[in-house]
Every structure is written in structure tokens, then in C-alpha cells.
């Protein structure tokens, strides 16, 4: 699992990850993915990539909650050990 020195670095990692999958240059914090052209299937791909990178698991109910960068970040933070990402 990547080591994070701050919450901001985790959010930036997520921003890069999502941008790469969606092939979009800019992912604003609170922009709805659907408004960025990210459909629900791409959302599943994003979740799968997050799960692989951070060794976390999203439930089916949480899949539909991955709607913005900030919401994605919140979900990941909840799942990571506190010593990892929540230190900053």
C-alpha cells in the first residue's frame, strides 16, 4: 500500500488515478463525475483501481456513492488504517 504523509497527498493520488482512467485532465474536488463524462461503468473501473492500489474493498452500495473526487476520498479515508492516510 502506498504510504501517505498527508491527506492532501492521498487526494492528489486519487485525482491522478481518476484522471488517468477517465482520460480527463482536470478533476475538480466536488464536480459530479457524470458532469465530467464519467459514466457508471467508468465509475466501477475507478473503484476497481482504487481497491487494487489501496487494498481496500467497496461494497455494492458504496459503488454508487463514488460520485465525486471528494466523496471517493472520504470513502477511502474511512477504509485506510488511521496510521496511513489520516495523519496529515
Amino acid at each position: 500500500m502506498p504510504q501517505h504523509t498527508s491527506k492532501n497527498s492521498l487526494k492528489e493520488e486519487l485525482r491522478s488515478l481518476i484522471a488517468e482512467i477517465a482520460e480527463i485532465d482536470a478533476i475538480p474536488d466536488d464536480a459530479a463525475f457524470k458532469d465530467l463524462g464519467i459514466d457508471s461503468m467508468m465509475g466501477v473501473e475507478i473503484v476497481a483501481a482504487i481497491e487494487r492500489q489501496y487494498h481496500v474493498k467497496f461494497s455494492d452500495a458504496e459503488l454508487s456513492q463514488v460520485t465525486t473526487l471528494n466523496r471517493s476520498y472520504e470513502l477511502v479515508i474511512e477504509k485506510l488504517p488511521q496510521t496511513s492516510a489520516a495523519a496529515g
Binding site: 488517468e20 482512467i21 482520460e23 457508471s40 461503468m41 466501477v44 476497481a48 483501481a49 459503488l63
Partner: protein, 147 residues
Amino acid sequence: MSAAALHALQSRRGHHTVRVLYHDTDKARVVHHATYFRYLEGARLELWREHGFSYDLFEKETGLGLPVVETHMRYHAAARFDDLLVVTTWVGAATRASVWFHAEIRRDESLLVMAKVRLACASFDDGQIRRVPVALLDACLEPGYTV
């Protein structure tokens, strides 16, 4: 699909034989262009069944379905009534969100159709997209490959 989401994989291939019936054809006396989608669906179902994945059971047990979300078909030559066709299908690309089934339809050695059909996975209850089931991927991919 982004390049980053693609995974190297090795797919099994299914070979499904179908005889063209009269109702498969149209007024021009060739197989109607939409008919080929039914042939592809039959080939996919048989590929899955051959490797232990019953789509009927899958629907009943999980409440999920595998809707077609994108297609591409190129028609090289026409098929006609009573032709015996072989539909070969395999996984061309896959992620946890969707699977591209590639296919070709031949009459003897003649290539008639090249096609790609993308399937996703969705809940019948709420229509929400779900992960593609591992059981489907296991049925289609050679042992040791996954996404």
C-alpha cells in the same frame, strides 16, 4: 476504455454452429443485419455454458444481468437461407466494469461478419452497474488470467 484499464489476458474461444432459417432472412433474401446479434448472443451463451457458467442460473441466483452496452459490427458478405454458419467468439478485452466479446461469423472459409459486443453487469432491482462477476471471467478466460 482507457489504455490503463486494459489487462493482458488470454481468452477461451467458443465455436457455435447455426443454420440460417427462413425467418432469419429479409425481403432481399439475405440474413437481416439485426439477426447476427442473435447469433452472437447464442454463441456467447454456449461459450459460457461449456465452461460452467449458466446465465439462467446466474440471473436467478444473483438478481443481476449482463446488458449489452455497446456494439460494433462489420458486414463483409451476406449469409442466405440454409447456410451453415460458424460463430466464433472470445473475450477481446475486459475490466471489472465491462467485457468486450469479439466474434467472427464464417461460412466455410468465407468471413461474413466481424463484431464486438460490450457487456456490463447491472442489478435488476435498481438498475445500478455492478462489477462483472468473477465467475463469468473464469468461464471465459484461460486459467491463470483475470482482471
